[in-house]
Symmetry: D2
Subunit: 350 residues, 4 copies
């Protein structure tokens, strides 16, 4: 089968012809219907320090995907052959303290699809049966695949109350825009989205934001007043999806006393902040958010989509055949549009 | 009556003879039995920027106290005249959004006793009847007064699970030591306390810590490994009572994935940290903690004390007559012992 | 002023001319704009055993109301004169254990407006300022008044998860129908309403129920299978608003393992049930629901209404002048329509 | 190997010589070190209607056990061969809606060890590796085995707050007594235990109850006042472990407004109660409790035991060799003592 592989340490990737994998006990073999590109994939492509410290080559990339169950290994009841499934990309050990508590998303031994095991930019992939999330056919493969990143948004958004709250979403990429839609579906009184680019703010407005705030050309010192203006005072909840320190500080500044903040964006490796004034004195709660609850978040995510409460199709903006992976990467890098999807094979894409 | 008053903006304070106050509707007049000195009082004495920006003079200082109800104003059923009461030092408006939700501790219009209204370093004080917390006589005035700072410790300690957890308490002053005792009472598997001074670590051990770690002479870069060693690996919960940035970073470093951190200590006005690696990627939750829940925290605090589950008397180490307030302040400044208590009047103290 | 008064123990009521009341400290004087009739009012009119055991005459009846603030007593900041307010009908002592925990709705010393103190079927009424809930003018007096009974529905509906759940609402009076709308707004996957009368089921469908099930002519033994059919299997959540034992048993029978049930309806004073099989073995949780959280439920209720997520106007079906209180009572007794509203004065009503 | 087997439908059981089982993928083979007799076992022995409707013969009985891991099947990392393990007796499918939410204890397809699959009254047993709970050697096999029934007590006891609460435990068998100890460890202010027999009340007092109330010779109408007297008023929490309708009604009568009740005992198949007055009007919450959370409850249970906060050894009162199973059953039937333990083999027991 055709796959996108990181052969050796260092930047780049190459197409490869690999043998079809086989499912062992507790596993399922999936035909990859479609797969999304995520920032993590770019880390691997670019061989950033994080990637260099973690990834063992060779490795098939990709972790956001929809699949069709081709076969299951011994002892597997579900999923059933033929089912459409989304895939939880975090493979957990099931036996560590966190897993035993049901907190699988912080498993101490998490392996990630396309990072620590071979992934989804291929014609087929083997995953634990447990990681398959059967999804109604009506959603279709693209939306099914998008459940994985949307799950991040949902996990971040449901850490605290949203109903009747003013919600500030910093970062309007696909995950941020999904968070906007979730906040709206949960009855937020006002949703403000922030991003650098006009394209993404337009996307956020399409997903239900009341107002979009651009950071382009705004001095760091003016950010808080801009956010406050857009929030009409304070933000009861902040969903941080940008990983931009200046913006995070500004967002904390406009957070209401007793409010809450979900931190999902990466990019604050050297953050400076006045913890006393911004967090302690006003009794804020900050949630570091990683992964998705397995599988409460998935149930909720599918629910939003299947009921029509959230429609993410406007966020799925680019499609490429696997054979044009380089073009796909270039678009994903631009930080402008929505989700970039990869179709296995060489053929035309929808 | 005799009182300690800040007459004018600027450092210092002076004793003053004031008229006895009278309770209006909804208020109670309390005889001050004993009052504690807190770091906030030193801010006012020293007229720090925070104090200068907030306090209007003249002002009677002091906010940690036990009182005897001398009289109540119109419409007051409780407390009853003659009752021993602790006093919630945060006076709330009861009508803001936070108060209406029951989150009185983050009231947007909080006024603090001894900061925004006349306080407890006096022979008598008027407070809202609502702020009086009737306390069993058996606890005695000193422990009754200590419920206020202990409430901070309790509020911080009950933000997440403690039972069977490894709990790291950074800062072993009176509040940190009370937190040690609460963690112990709640079934923590291991409690580690950290402080600069040997006196305070000894106090923490007396309150039930399994191990005390001194920061004296330890390089910032070695702190995390020292904490990890004392925690025998990771800390499931961190109770931050020190307000020391290096120590906070080290504590976050040893926090377990999915763990939680209460932030109570002030002193991180210019914190630098790797938010990505320390908080986001490991799914930590950070609780900024201010005040106490009114009055769930008080019920719990009194419960620990009345049942004997926590005995805070070893933390009450110094006693002075109001007439020797300067000596009391000097001891409180030293950062070495436990709580410094002030007795109104000139007489000998217990 | 004109008022509806229960003069002496026993059935009935009489109109009376009373002096205008005056607000004391902590109180507000409200002009009654409109007031609703509730089942509790009928208990007083009919002098049922419960009423006889509780009510001291003379008593002005009525507790669901919207008011305009005419004046406030000493020490009252809020509400402001001129504001439109809904009224929390449960007057609490603020000092019992439950109140101190913030659980005002189960205050041990609750006094109810129109039951234990003079009520709302009058041109004006005095209530504690604390019990006034300022409401946006745009909602208008009728919807403002309806917040009190709708609060019961909200309080019942938010005890457990609704999103993506199948929700069974037993009893489709005004409160049951409001619960249907709340379940819908909260993302329930399927909402089934049950009632005896076709009028009320039609009302439930108008409020968003997917299916209405009539109990008229259905044998007790067939109820569960009818409910199961309508629920397409099991109910994840049951909102019990009917107080009908046969129906409650049937509802528990179709509740899913691990599901939850809010019990609001009265009428099960002599219930028989198989607790083992229906509740214990399947791990159900049953919430006895009384009153509303003060004031978290109010915030949420107003939020549903102000945002347009819930429109209760179809539930407000009858209007009478105070002078025609007997006609109003007759309609309320019929158990057929929606909420019956009383306008003070003799004039024509909207 | 020797085992206790129900060969055919109907009362009784017989010893049998069976082949040693072998672990398949995902399974572990355990040497049974010791196993407890539970009321459920008596249902099978006596072939009650519940047993007749559920059990398929032949079946090896027994589900409370401690084991030593002899071997594991393919794909099993944990437990490790040689480990001491307790065994979660509820085998879940892992794929139903409840399991996917992490609510394994209400799995719709639960199979129970010794009921639906061959059980623990044997020299060895095969169970899913997932169901093995590694336990510190220091606890020893008997306490390790007792974690399963104690887990019921823990699961029931932690449904609501216990600290500073008056807790009423109805039924003082091994599970009720374990609940007494848990309530004590969690800081209950007062713990009252109720049972028919003096032996069990003595056991409850030994486990930390403040007072024991006998129901022997007490008229149903007097129960509530007896309980109220022992509770010194009201019970904030009720842990119902008796399954006796009169006692349950009395317990609900003394429950405080806003209080909570865990229902674990079976025996209320035809309960009559005044739901209006006992549950609805006072805002009680009733938790039907089945099984244990997998594995949060196990972590907590082991924590109580390993820390010494709870010592259940006084509850382990009788020991028999498998060869004397009939004597063991007779003691278990008496309803007088504590837990009856079975040792595989014929030899003398500790």
């Amino acid at each position: 089968m055709q796959a996108i592989v990181k052969r050796h340490p260092g930047g780049g990737w190459e197409p490869a012809e690999l043998p079809m994998p086989e499912p062992g006990p507790g596993q399922a073999l999936l035909q990859v219907l479609v797969a999304g590109i995520c920032g993590t994939d770019l880390h691997l492509v670019d061989w950033t320090p994080w990637a260099a410290s973690r990834v063992v080559t060779p490795r098939v990339l990709g972790h956001e995907m929809a699949g069709r169950v081709l076969a299951v290994g011994p002892t597997v009841d579900r999923p059933r052959v033929g089912e459409l499934v989304g895939v939880e990309s975090h493979l957990v050990d099931g036996t560590c303290r966190q897993c035993r508590r049901g907190d699988f998303h912080v498993c101490a031994a998490t392996r990630i699809l396309g990072v620590d095991v071979d992934g989804a930019f291929a014609e087929a992939v083997v995953v634990p049966a447990r990681n398959c999330w059967p999804t109604p056919e009506a959603l279709g493969p693209e939306v099914t695949a998008f459940q994985e990143p949307m799950g991040n948004a949902v996990h971040a958004a449901v850490q605290g109350p949203l109903r009747d709250r003013t919600v500030l979403v910093t970062g309007a990429g696909p995950i941020g825009c999904a968070a906007v839609a979730v906040a709206r579906a949960e009855g937020a009184a006002r949703v403000v989205a922030v991003d650098r680019t006009a394209e993404r703010l337009a996307m956020a407005l399409a997903m239900g934001a009341d107002e979009g705030v651009t950071t382009a050309g705004v001095a760091a010192g003016d950010l808080a007043s801009r956010l406050s203006q857009a929030c009409r005072g304070e933000a009861d909840a902040v969903l941080e999806m940008a990983g931009a320190p200046d913006l995070l500080r500004a967002a904390l500044t406009v957070a209401a006393a007793g409010g809450w903040v979900s931190l999902l964006g990466l990019g604050s490796a050297d953050l400076r902040l006045d913890l006393d004034r911004l967090v302690v004195m006003r009794g804020l709660t900050l949630f570091g958010v990683t992964g998705r609850r397995q599988f409460q978040t998935w149930e909720r995510t599918t629910g939003y989509l299947a009921s029509g409460a959230v429609d993410v199709r406007p966020l799925l903006t680019h499609r490429f055949a696997l054979a044009h992976f380089d073009d796909a990467v270039a678009v994903a890098r631009s930080g402008r549009g929505g989700k970039v999807l990869i179709y296995p094979g060489n053929g035309p894409v929808p």
